[in-house]
Symmetry: C2
Subunit: 205 residues, 2 copies
């Protein structure tokens, strides 16, 4: 048995999840309050939810679909996080996640600001971030060359790297986003961050 490590949080996200967006903002607040680090990890919900779990996306699920449309803006107001997304066409997050994966390997210092810019564009500025053009359009905001980011999104090695990272998440038991792991304990859902923070502060229960 090793000592409990409550000084770092693993954060699993898919850009297509509005709850992952809310979680991405809130988890950084938790980290500041508790002086711990946050490591971001990409997940493809199309792989975990659809292929592995055999479920459907929220947009295809009666009742839950209507609930989520009402709940997400209400949850954003509760947390004091900007949110502006009138339509809920499912976002294709593959290109943005490949760009993030490449950044993590080659420009790690830019990877989190880039991911935050994608989340903000998609969910606070009502910009569809499904296309490579939209994704590479954010290059300058993180000080990167647009063409390099665009090339990364079609690189076979990058595709393979993203696949490896998603496989590693699944091996750990991650299925939805946002998911947070602290001290080996996995918590699913932005609404569990108070519990994550309690775990960090107390060392668990």
């Amino acid at each position: 048995m090793s000592m409990a490590d409550t000084s770092s949080i693993d954060f699993y996200f898919d850009f297509m999840s509005p709850y992952a967006y809310l979680g991405s903002v809130e988890v950084e607040r938790v980290s500041v309050r508790n002086q711990c680090t946050v490591t971001w990890h990409p997940v493809l919900l199309g792989v975990t939810v659809i292929k592995i779990m055999g479920l459907k996306g929220v947009a295809d699920t009666p009742l839950k679909r209507e609930y989520v449309r009402h709940d997400v803006p209400r949850f954003a107001r509760y947390l004091g996080i900007p949110f502006n997304r009138a339509t809920y066409e499912p976002m294709d997050s593959l290109h943005a996640l490949r760009a993030f994966t490449w950044l993590q390997d080659h420009h790690p210092e830019a990877s989190k600001p880039f991911a935050q810019a994608v989340f903000e564009a998609q969910w606070a500025k009502a910009t569809d971030m499904s296309t490579p053009a939209a994704v590479s359009g954010l290059a300058e905001t993180v000080g990167l060359d647009r063409h390099a980011l665009q090339a990364a999104m079609t690189d076979e090695f990058v595709k393979q790297r993203l696949k490896e990272k998603v496989d590693a998440a699944v091996d750990r038991g991650v299925f939805g986003t946002p998911t947070f792991v602290v001290d080996g304990e996995m918590f699913w859902g932005a609404d569990r961050l108070p519990m994550v923070e309690q775990w960090i502060r107390t060392g668990g229960w």
Copy 2:
């Protein structure tokens, strides 16, 4: 527009849901702290999740199944609620929900203590409450005749009454349990009770 009514909480539950058990204990604490009433409503997850939403039960869902088995006892410890259920064979909650439905119509004062006894037996005492015999065995704990309760569970009118109540829940948009409605606002999940309490205290946001 009517005035916001934050003095009562509608609580939707299915006995087969361990999160509904945790929510059933916690929502009564919220009601005591805020001097509001709680009205309990039965839901059949087999109808909402399987038939209407077209999803699968947790026991049939890889990754989520393993998460829930770890999360429920941890969540119970967090809330300080007794929990003891080593096995997770899905409970057949139909008989217990019919008994509850009959009690609501004929012995309303006994319906909530009865429901709390079912939840406690199922999730804190590791007793399978799937059978009519197990359900009617709780009659004395709420001051009722065992045979009357047993008869109610096979009464066609009671079956119809439960169906009506579940239909009414679905019409309102309820799909999972626990669900809480306060001031016309629906919140899904035991982990949303802090938000429900905030809504009651502030009148919403």
